[in-house]
Every structure is written in C-alpha cells, then in structure tokens.
C-alpha cells in the first residue's frame, strides 16, 4: 500500500510542477500578480510531495520491502542500514528521484532567497525551474518508476547493492554531484529569466552569483569525492581515468568555473553580458548532457550503467526542448542584452576573457574527446577509443597557461592596468618563484622540467595573491593594514584567494604525484619483503575474515622505514555473497607528502598473492586543493554584499518597478 502512495505523490508533484511552470510565466507576460504569486506555493507543494516520495522509497529500503522491484534489485536483508539508505540512489530510478527532489529543494531555496527580486523576474526564474521539474518528474513516472511492484511473486531476498557502491565515499558522491548539476539550473533559470526580461544589469549578476558559486562548490567537491573513491576502491591507485562519466561531470565544472568569473566581470563592469548568459545555459546543458550520457548508455565506461533506448530517447527529447529552446531564445534575444563597455588590452577584463576562453576550449576539447568515438561510429561505422594520451596532451598545456593568467589576473585592475606598474608589482615575486622552482627541479628525482614548471606556476599564483592582498590592504587603510585592512577585504575576496591557492595546491599534487609515483607488481608469499622508495614492505600473510554480507581474505603488510615501523596495512580481497563479485579493498596509509598503497591481486597458491605496492607522493594534495577550491566558492557565496539591500543605481531602478 505504502509504495502506491509514492506513485501518487509523484503524480501530485507533477501536477504542481506543471502549475509552477505555466501560470507564473503567463502572469509575468500578462502582468497578473495573482498568477505570479502562485510560483512559491506550487514550488513548496512540489517539494513536500517529492520529499514524501523519497521518504517512502527510503522506507521501502530500510524495511526490506522486496515487493518493490527497485528495492529487490538493489538491496538485500544482510546489507548494513546505511548502505540500504544510500542504495536509494544507487541505481537509475532512485538517483533520478534524488535529482528531482534536489531540484525542488533548490527551487524552495530560490523562493526564500528571492523576495527582493523584481516580481516578474522571480516568477520567470521559478517557472523555468518548474519546467525542468516537469521534465524530470515525467521522466520518472513514464520510464523509470521506482515504485513498480513484483506482485504476487515477491522475491524472498534482494539482489544486493553493487559491491562497488558499498562504500562510504559513494554514499556522498552522487548527492554532492547532483547538488552541483541541479544547482546550475538556478543560474540557467536566471539566464532564461533575463533573456525573457530583455535586460541584464549589475543587480541581476549579483543575484546569480551566490547560487552559481554554491552549485559550483558542490560539483567540485562531488568530483573530488568521486576521484578519491576511484583511488582507494577500484584498487589500482589511479585517481582519474578520463572516463566518459568523469568527463560528463568535469565539463559542467569547467564551464561553471568560466561562468563564475564572467559573472564577476558582468557585475563589476557590465561587460560580457551575453557571453555570461550563454555560459549559464552551457553549464546547465552540460549537466543535462552528463545525465544523458550516464543514464542512456550511449557511451560505455567503467561505470557501466544499464542501456535502455526508451529512456535515452526521452532524455534526448527533453534535452532538445530545454537546450534547443534556450539556445533559440538566446539567438533571438541576445541583441537585447549585449553590452558595449570599453576596456583596454591590459586589464582584468582581458585576463578574465583569457580565463573564459581557456576553460571553454578545455571543456570543448573534452566534449570532443568524449563524443568523438560516437561521431566516428555514426559517420563511418569505424570504432575508436581515445584514451588518456589525447586528453593529457591537450589539457595540461591549457591549464598551464590558465595558471599563469590566474597569477597575473589577480593583480590586474579593472578597465585599465599600467603595464609598467604591473611588472613592478610582480617582478620581485616572480624572481623568488623562479629560484624556488629551480631548486625543486634540481631536487626532483625525474622530469625536472615538469616539476620546475608546476612549482613555478603554483608559487607564482600564491605570490601574486599575497602581493595583491598586501596592495589592497595598503589602499584600504594605510599604516594599519594588518588590523584594519585584512578584515575589510570581504569574504568574496578571501574566497577567491582560497580557491586560487587550491588550484595551485591541486596542480602541485597532480604533477608531483604523476612524476614521482612508484609501483611494483609482484608475487609475495608469507614472510617475503620488498624495498621500495626507502620503505621495506613485509608481507605477513592473509587470514580469513567475515563481514556482514561478504567474506574476505585479509592481508597484513608491515612497513618499515629503516629500523622504525612506519605502518601496518590491511589490504583485503572480498567476495560479496549475493552477486559473487570479488572486490579489492586497498590498504592505504595516508600522509601529507605520500601515500603507501597496497592492493591484493590474485591468490597464487601456497599462501602467496599477486601484490601491488605503490608509493604515491603528494596524492592527497589533489583532493585538498579541490576542496580548497570548493570551500573558496562557499566562502565567496557567503559575502555580505549578496544579502544586503542593493545600493547600485541600476539595481535600485529595477527594484523601483516593484510596487
């Protein structure tokens, strides 16, 4: 009985979404305040019913209701309760429900946070989000109903959750990622609202910025979490594969990064207006495309989700309506919002343009690399796969230029920057960075150019940032710059600095890790030892171990550095009972400058195993850097400016329209 209430809730949510998508929009056109006022209540109602549906599905999982087909496919009575809960979004139907629920939650947040917006813009923004919601809830009901029952042949027990997903990192990875994907719908809705309104001003950019920043921060931490999971769970110590599913989440992040920068220029200087709108559309379109690529089975990947053409056709039609519709609207309305604000060749505007160009090119090149095998197949039937070589060759140089532009761009001033002044500002720090980088290159065990290059760029970003902080403080309060100047800088500024430092840390981690990683694959019997990178790994053998829904062989490896014990690692080889799937749990000792990583391969008889031993220097820096970027985004979104009543004349004019 209860699961049927879930279907009913979905139906009611769909009805409310339809109301939210249509009446406020018509109201904004006909200037009918009552119709526009429906936007909020409809959004809240939708949120309530989707929450109910989500809770009902979660209840079905927790109470082992295997009469629900989705539960029977993805859960098992022996599964620990927290994995039962995360199994709700462990497969297609549930993760879509999570998507729709998050969209409703974001819409309610927009309702609450947008009371100061002009009434028509607010109605349009919420209506656009309603349209997206209609699409997703309809998709759920029509092709992916999670409440379908297996009656009367209820299976006695479930098929179990994919063992790869039975992991702490995977509990949080999809929700974080979806928070990002869905969050870009707000930026998208603001962009469409502006196109319908026909004008963009600083106030519009200021309203869009915090939403975009929060979405971007969630997406970034979701990607970092996924990469961390791949590193320790897949058992081969890599943290990025250029896999289509990873690319699908990385592209909106890159475009979103471009968007937060171009929004800054639009707010401060009124430039790049139509470009900003295009980026907002692109960021959300790529999020939808990501959903399409992952959920339709168009591209196969290690993530291997089910292939189902009907679902693919539905998502494709939806994409056509949303993306095609908004790009057509853009083609018609872009002249109304384009701006002509002059700026000189050396200015922060120019450098932000460089940033946008590089990030867009990077995203386009990843899109090409992801779709190229498909393109070739469609055109000629030839099949081809582009591996990491393609992506690395193109992506690394682009990012190197981007880092240089970041360091210079922070110091550059709006509108016009005196070239000689900038050289004076950066000259001393560049010298220091060069010395540090050459030192690092000399010390590097291999690839001195890569190590030197990344150290130069990373320290240059940090030094440029520090130089700018000092300069800003001196201007804000000469003499008292530590006590008065630093606090006066504002969260928006500190967020930017933190995120840029995160970029530097992440780049250092990536290069130092790929240059300095050492690994050995070898056969080890009990008592065997191996020396690697100054450590001595002694394999003590394995013992049997029984988990809640798996049995495992658990190895013990003691690691020595000289005469001192450095760590005891416990890599495991698990076999999950229901799906009979073998899983590798690596034994890892994490450290700030290096990880020790051991994974068990196959048993080779006589207690010996194929063992994989890695030393991964600076691998943690990659995720620390990514988290610093995300945190920077959140800090910037918390800036007081976004909550204070606008003082900008253009914003005041817009507000004056509200009676």
């Amino acid at each position: 009985m209860i699961p049927e209430l879930g279907v009913l809730s979905l139906g009611l949510a769909l009805g409310l979404a339809a109301v939210q998508a249509s009446l406020p929009l018509a109201g904004a056109r006909l200037n009918a305040p009552r119709w526009m006022a429906l936007a909020g209540p409809a959004a809240w109602g939708q949120f309530v019913f989707l929450t109910a549906a989500f809770a009902i599905l979660a209840h079905a999982f927790l109470s082992d209701d295997f009469s629900v087909a989705y539960v029977a496919r993805n859960s098992n009575s022996a599964l620990p309760w927290y994995y039962k809960l995360s199994a709700v979004w462990g497969a297609h139907e549930g993760s879509l429900l999570l998507w729709a629920w998050m969209l409703a939650a974001w819409t309610c947040a927009v309702c609450m946070g947008s009371r100061k917006l002009p009434r028509t813009l607010r109605a349009r923004v919420i209506a656009v989000m309603g349209m997206i919601s209609v699409g997703f809830v309809l998709f759920l009901i029509a092709t992916s109903n999670p409440f379908v029952r297996l009656l009367p042949e209820t299976p006695p027990d479930g098929n179990d959750l994919n063992p790869l997903l039975q992991d702490l990192g995977l509990i949080f990875h999809p929700p974080m990622l979806y928070m990002g994907y869905v969050g870009f719908s707000v930026a998208f809705a603001f962009a469409i609202g502006a196109l319908l309104d026909g004008h963009i001003d600083a106030a519009w950019a200021r309203w869009s910025r915090p939403w975009t920043l929060v979405a971007w921060a969630f997406l970034g931490s979701g990607i970092a979490l996924g990469s961390w999971w791949a590193y320790y769970e897949l058992g081969w110590g890599s943290w990025w594969f250029w896999d289509p599913v990873e690319n699908a989440s990385f592209m909106p992040w890159l475009v979103g990064t471009a968007l937060i920068h171009s929004l800054a220029a639009t707010e401060k200087r009124g430039v790049f207006k139509s470009w900003t709108v295009l980026l907002a559309i692109a960021a959300f379109s790529l999020s939808l495309l990501g959903t399409f690529l992952v959920r339709s089975g168009v591209l196969t990947s290690v993530h291997a989700f089910a292939t189902d053409p009907t679902r693919g056709v539905f998502i494709l039609c939806f994409l056509l309506l949303v993306v095609g519709g908004s790009l057509a609207l853009y083609a018609f309305r872009a002249p109304a919002i384009s701006s002509r604000v002059p700026f000189s060749a050396l200015s922060r505007e120019t450098l932000l343009l460089v940033n946008n160009l590089l990030l867009s090119v990077a995203a386009a090149m990843i899109l090409l690399g992801t779709l190229y095998p498909l393109l070739l197949d469609a055109l000629s039937g030839a099949k081809l796969s582009v591996g990491p070589p393609y992506f690395n060759t193109l992506f690394i140089p682009l990012m190197a230029v981007l880092m240089a532009a970041t360091a210079v761009g922070v110091v550059a001033r709006w509108k016009y920057t005196d070239g000689r002044w900038m050289v004076r500002m950066l000259w001393p720090s560049l010298m220091v960075c060069l010395i540090l980088a050459s030192g690092a290159a000399v010390l590097a065990p291999s690839s001195p150019w890569a190590v030197g290059g990344v150290c130069l760029l990373a320290t240059f970003i940090m030094a440029g940032g520090l130089r700018d902080i000092a300069d800003k403080c001196r201007h804000l309060s000469p003499g008292l710059w530590l006590s008065r100047g630093l606090p006066a800088l504002g969260r928006s500024y500190w967020g930017m600095q933190l995120a840029h430092a995160g970029l530097a840390v992440c780049a250092l981690g990536i290069v130092l890790n790929s240059v300095g990683s050492i690994e050995r694959d070898l056969r080890m019997g009990p008592g065997d030892a191996i020396e690697l990178g100054g450590y001595r790994f002694v394999f003590e053998g394995t013992v049997g171990h029984v988990g809640p829904n798996y049995t495992a062989e658990r190895g013990q490896v003691s690691v020595w550095r000289g005469d001192r014990p450095a760590a005891v690692l416990h890599p495991e080889k698990r076999v999950y009972h229901v799906q009979q799937a073998p899983m590798t749990e690596a034994g890892i000792q994490a450290g700030l400058t290096r990880d020790l990583f051991i994974a068990l391969g196959e048993p080779l008889g006589g207690g010996a195993w194929a063992v994989r031993v890695h030393i991964k220097p600076f691998v943690r820096w990659i995720w620390i850097g990514a988290l610093m970027m995300a945190l920077g985004g959140l800090v910037a979104a918390a800036d007081r400016r976004y909550r204070r009543a606008p003082r900008h004349p253009a914003a005041a004019r817009t507000l004056a329209q509200v009676p």
């Binding site: 897949l234 081969w236 890599s238 594969f241 295009l278 559309i281 692109a282 379109s285 495309l289 399409f292 339709s296 089975g297 168009v298 591209l299 196969t300 290690v302 292939t307 053409p309 693919g312 056709v313 494709l316 994409l319 056509l320 993306v323 095609g324 790009l327 057509a328 853009y330 083609a331 872009a334 002249p335 779709l371 095998p373 498909l374 393109l375 197949d377 469609a378 039937g381 030839a382 099949k383 081809l384 796969s385 591996g387 990491p388 070589p389 050995r520 694959d521 070898l522 056969r523 391969g601 196959e602 080779l604 194929a610 994989r612």
Partner: protein
C-alpha cells in the same frame, strides 16, 4: 556575421543531438561485429616479448583461439586479467593484441600479473585494432582453426560470460577442428 555567431551555439547543439540520437541505436555491447564470419585480418607486427620477431596471421592459425585486445592503460583489462590466467591454465589458447601501449610497461605487467597469452602481438600504432574495428579495450575475438572470426565480445570476460557465451562456442570449435 553577428547573427551567425548568435545562432552558432544552437546549430552546434542540434548537430550533437542528431549524433546522440544515432548513438542511442548503436548499442555498443550487442553490436555484432562486421567481422563475424569473415577471416581475421592480415597483419605483420612485432611480438611483444621479442620485438625482432614478426608475427603474421599465419601464426595464429591451426587451433581455435581467443584473441584478446588489451592494454595497460585500460582499467577493465586489469579486472579481466585473472580470468584469462585461469582460462589459460585450463588449456584455452589465448592470443593477445597489445593495443596502443608502451612496450616496457606491457612487459612489466605480464611479468608481474602472469602471462596467459600464447602469442602477443604488439599493435603500438593501433593499425590492427583499426582493422578489427576495436571500440575500446578489452575486446575478445573467437577465431576457429582456419582463422575465421566466429564471435566478438566487447568488455570484461568474467566467469559468467565465459560459461554462458564463449565456452559453448569454443567447445564446438574444438570439435570442428578435430579431424
């Protein structure tokens, strides 16, 4: 010119949409290879373990065999490798095509993870892969004693795939090959 620039995003997107629509019906896992029923393509490539020696199509004839396309950059190949080891131990003839890979890395991989391959063709430039229509690694072709491709499997061979799909065919081929 400016108008063109404005509608360019729309045009690009529509092109991608057409592509994705076509992609939906190109099912990568069930697509029967155009090669099934045709002879295995001709090639002349170095052997992975002995680069001076050249392998040709004639070297893989005579017995039914699996031809497994693999690479060290392919994460799924690592997953598949133990299964191949087990099959090789059970007497199944497996040849490898080391696809777009680095020779020394590949040799190291085989030394440490055990080498299940009878012959290993080093296809560094991917030319044989192109002739075979390789979509990605791993892919496995089943050929009979005369070198005719009888089946192709895309993706990781696990015990279930072997038992249900490849083993019956392989056993039939062994029967056929018996004089």
């Amino acid at each position: 010119m400016k108008t063109l620039l404005r509608i360019l995003p729309l045009i690009l997107f529509l092109a991608i949409a057409v592509l994705l629509y076509r992609g939906l019906y190109l099912d990568p896992t069930h697509l029967p290879s155009a090669l099934v029923g045709k002879p295995f393509p001709e090639f002349s490539l170095p052997a992975l373990d002995e680069p001076a020696r050249r392998l040709t199509r004639a070297d893989i004839l005579g017995r039914p065999a699996l031809v497994n396309v693999w690479a060290t950059w392919c994460p799924s190949c690592r997953q598949e490798h133990p299964v191949l080891n087990r099959l090789a131990q059970a007497g199944v003839v497996i040849h490898g095509v080391n696809y777009k890979d680095d020779r020394s890395t590949a040799q190291r991989w085989l030394r440490s993870l055990h080498d299940p391959y009878r012959l290993n063709i080093e296809d560094a430039a991917g030319t044989l892969g192109l002739d075979l229509g390789v979509y990605g690694a791993p892919e496995t072709f089943v050929i009979d004693a005369h070198g005719v491709v009888r089946d192709k499997y895309i993706g990781v061979i696990d015990d279930a795939v072997w038992r249900e799909r490849l083993e019956p065919l392989y056993t039939t081929l062994l029967e056929e090959a018996r004089p």
